[in-house]
């Protein structure tokens, strides 16, 4: 079995940096370290399949002699999938612990802020004033509607929606 020196050196560097980064306190760095070490291990498995560059298939001109062992590649694929799943879980964990660190357990509850209250009060006043305006317009046009044929109601309604959307 002859292994590629480049891959061996790469694997060693990845293990080294991975362990170094993993010793940090921050979860994100631990994740990066884990990914480095995980992939270094995948490389290690790959290295066990022998000389790099050949196809793991017999046939089409390739004989048993110039093919590589396919089993490590299968193992590697499985390991990659598992690492992927675990990485996704850790990302969720990091997000959750960031959330808890910044917002605490209260972050989960929808709270009523002062701003929300002010907003709600403003909205109420605004709608009340709108209603007053409508009343005033209705009163103004009540006489005109008797002899003219203006569609007051729909005018007022349009007015309402436009202003509401603009807000």
């Amino acid at each position: 079995m002859s292994a590629s020196l480049t891959l061996v050196v790469l694997m060693a560097i990845m293990y080294g940096t991975g362990v170094y980064v993993m010793l940090e306190k921050s979860l994100t760095r631990i994740l990066i370290g884990f990914m480095l070490i995980g992939n270094a291990t995948n490389l290690l498995i790959f290295l066990m399949s022998g000389r790099a560059g050949d196809a793991p298939i017999i046939g089409d001109g390739a004989t048993g002699e110039n093919t590589v062992d396919p089993v490590p590649q299968v193992l590697m694929l499985t390991a990659i999938v598992i690492n992927f799943g675990v990485t996704a879980f850790i990302l969720a964990l990091i997000y959750r612990s960031w959330w808890l660190a910044n917002l605490g357990d209260e972050g989960d509850d929808v709270t009523v802020d002062d701003e929300d209250v002010i907003d709600a009060e403003e909205a109420e006043v605004y709608h009340a004033s709108l209603d007053e305006d409508d009343e005033a317009v209705r009163a103004q046009l009540a006489g005109a509607a008797d002899n003219g044929d203006i569609d007051i109601e729909s005018d007022i309604d349009n007015n309402h929606t436009e202003r509401g959307a603009g807000r």
């Binding site: 884990f34 498995i45 290295l47 089993v71 959750r96």
Partner: protein, 520 residues
């Protein structure tokens, strides 16, 4: 009969898929997960019966691929015992969890993920036990670990995320050790089928064997919580919900012990492991139990006794004789059952007493006499009081040790007896404080027994409903009754463990089961 073997993994996995789809229908989820685990339990019992009576291991070549090209599933006596015991425990704890979930209105355990994750955990456990292939065992480990990450951080509260982080990072590192060891073993032997490995590893030089063995053992020792690598356990287990802690404490560490038995007896029997394992076992026993003595929190205390008692199993493996392995197998079964039952009864204590700290608990004997009886039986059993299986298991181990005597063995027998006494002391202190002490004395109570105790860093208080659902009590009673059965049927069980040990310690038999026509 062989058709039953893959079912052990396939059924829980399909159950997990179905319960995930049925997330909005808790009743149906409960029905499916309970029936899945019941069927698996029955299948495991049938398998154990058949494998034991015929003396032939059940071998399944997955997908019809001949080994060593395909994956082999292999159930011998040891695997069958482990699967049956785990299935029983998983079922019992599931019923307990359902009882708790119904009573709590599912605040604490979001049932929609609980059932699928729990079933995947079971599938991973069973897969690890029946794998006849090192890489498949790794996959089994990863399945159960991934599920355990989710179960441990269930609900995502601050304490659980904190505890979960330690657990996850430690588990990840141990998995990477395991995977790297597999890669090295493949490089050295060109196979991962255990039956073939058993033969090919013997052809390697001893120093290479030692390196491969050490790499594998480090990975397993982290999972089994063996001494220098056990620091993570008492910090992470107690924060999880009671049923989850019970399953973890009972089963997850034992998978590591099972894997150590397999590697030691089947793959690396030529490596002289006795002395290093004995030393490690000594420290696991002593340091674990000293940790337990300083804890006020019952869950943390039990976690420390869990670490400590792993030492007995490592001691049994280290003895090396068939008698020692047999006693270890009996002890594993005993410990799985007792530890699960005790954690589950602590779940009941938590409900009645609204705390798990012995400085706050009091008067439980009056408040809940039945829970007191359940806890008392479990505590005496773990402490090793004569009629119970804890005593029988320890006597079996000591006897096996005395039959292959060496100074180190006698030191370990002494340490084992001391650990047993100290376990009893720690548990009886819980009994004295939580059960016998009148509730009105709790405030301002002072006793030399309570000085130097450490409260748990996050006293969460837990569930605050004083009702005890019948289902929870019934599940706990069932689990405690099972531990008593270990005493009643100790004779036949010991014989079965010894037969299992003979099977494990004879690699030739294992190889013949997988390759009836000789190894390629």
């Amino acid at each position: 009969m062989n058709a039953l073997v893959p079912l052990l993994v396939v059924l829980p996995l399909s159950g997990a898929a179905i319960t995930l789809i049925l997330g909005r229908n808790p009743r149906l989820q409960v029905a499916i997960s309970v029936s899945t685990l019941s069927i698996v339990t029955v299948a495991a019992a049938v398998l154990l019966y058949v494998v034991d009576t015929t003396g032939q291991a059940a071998v399944v070549k997955v997908g019809g691929w001949e080994p060593p090209f395909g994956i082999v599933l292999m159930v011998d006596r040891l695997s069958a015992i482990m699967v049956l015991v785990s299935a029983l425990m998983l079922l019992g704890v599931l019923v307990f969890a359902i009882g708790q979930g119904i009573a709590d209105g599912d605040k604490d355990t979001p049932v929609s993920i609980f059932h699928p994750t729990y079933l995947i955990l079971s599938a991973g456990l069973f897969d690890a036990f029946i794998a006849g292939d090192l890489f498949n065992m790794y996959v089994g480990f990863e399945m159960l670990l991934a599920a355990s990450y989710v179960l441990l951080t269930l609900g995502g509260t601050g304490a659980r995320i904190r505890a979960g982080t330690t657990y996850i990072v430690v588990s990840l590192v141990s998995s990477l050790f395991f995977l790297a060891a597999i890669a090295l073993i493949y490089g050295a032997t060109g196979t991962v089928t255990m039956a073939l490995l058993s033969e090919r590893i013997q052809a390697l030089p001893l120093d290479v064997q030692i390196i491969l063995c050490a790499a594998l053992l480090i990975g397993f020792a982290v999972k089994a919580a063996v001494f220098p690598l056990s620091f993570w356990l008492p910090d992470s287990y107690p924060t999880a919900p009671a049923p989850v802690t019970a399953v973890f404490a009972g089963l997850l560490t034992k998978v590591g012990v099972y894997a150590i038995i397999r590697t030691d007896k089947l793959l690396f029997f030529a490596v002289p492991l006795t002395i290093p394992l004995m030393i490690v076992a000594f420290f696991t026993l002593i340091i674990g139990i000293f940790g337990a003595l300083t804890q006020a929190d019952v869950k943390r205390l039990l976690s420390f006794t869990l670490v400590s008692h792993i030492g007995y199993m490592i001691f049994g493996i280290a003895i090396g004789s068939e008698l020692g392995t047999g006693a270890t197998i009996y002890y594993i079964v005993h410990h799985i059952m007792v530890q699960t039952a005790l954690f589950v009864s602590v779940g009941l204590i938590e409900r009645v007493g609204r705390s798990t700290s012995i400085t706050h608990l009091g008067g439980l004997l009056k408040k809940a006499p039945f829970v007191a009886v359940l806890f008392f039986i479990g505590a005496l059993n773990l402490g090793g009081i004569p009629p119970f299986s804890g005593f029988l298991g320890k006597v079996g181990l000591f006897e096996a040790g005395a039959q292959s005597p060496s100074p180190l063995v006698y030191v370990l027998i002494g340490a084992g007896a001391l650990t047993s006494l100290l376990t009893l002391y720690a548990l009886m202190r819980i009994w004295n404080m939580a059960f016998w002490r009148p509730a009105r004395d709790v405030a301002g109570y002072e006793s030399p027994m309570l000085t130097s105790l450490r409260e748990s860093p996050d006293e969460t208080g837990g569930v605050v409903t004083a009702t005890l659902p019948k289902l929870m009590v019934a599940a706990t009673t069932g689990l405690i009754a099972l531990t008593v059965c270990l005493t009643v049927f100790a004779g036949p069980l010991f014989e079965l463990s010894e037969r299992a040990a003979v099977g494990v310690a004879t690699p030739a038999e294992y190889i013949r089961a997988v390759f009836p026509d000789g190894t390629p």
